[in-house]
Amino acid sequence: MPVDPSLVGREFPAPAPLTVTRERVGAFAAAVGHPGGRDDVPPTFPIVLAFDAMMAFLDAEQIDLHRIVHGEQRFAYERPIAVGDELTARLTVTGLRQIGGADIIGTASEITDATGAVVCTGKATLVHSGATS
């Protein structure tokens, strides 16, 4: 089933803020083999928040995660993320087109700290393949 075209422009917040702890950073850094100490936040760490916001979007639209493939991801950082930050993500659907039976969904995620300042922005393309049966 194609994705509803009226979604473009809609906003989906991540369900909860994320406090950046040493444990959380350490687990992420270990999983990707990132060098540096436990205060060194890997640059792709904000995907944790962007992914939460994306799940809020998929759940709201009843889109199955296993039909989504990540097509593109870009991050622009205003400052490094640090242990102790409390981060919030808000995802906006920025575009939608169909290619060969797949929905190509454009999203932008703004990640802000507890003061409301933008820490990082993410742009993603999600490829949704509809049921083929």
Binding site: A30, A31, F51
Partner: protein, 129 residues
Amino acid sequence: MNAGDVLEPKTFTVTRADLVAYADASGDQNPIHQDEDVARSVGLPGVIAHGMYTLALVGRAVAEWTDGAEVVDLGAKFTSPVVVPAEGGADVVVAGTVKSVADGLATLALEVTCDGQKVLGMPKAVVRA
């Protein structure tokens, strides 16, 4: 760093166990990264690495090359999947050169391959020089 510097290519082996650990650490439990049957059911050749795992390996290479320089921009298109076999692993090679250094920022030109095939399109990393 100077424009034209060739950075030492980094090879990282990705295993199924790495993908499970990454799913837990990132929250991305999409079964196409862990379950062969689900991956094939949506037309993939097998279990594939999270695109963000591959991009994290780029972040790791950049950190190793630059001794942890602050990253200002990082991104790529996930143009070809990194298929991770049940036994052994897939080798991802991250190669790079310093494309330009200007205004305190170094832009790296990157080529990321698996089995000789490019897996990232237009990969980009910019760090504070």
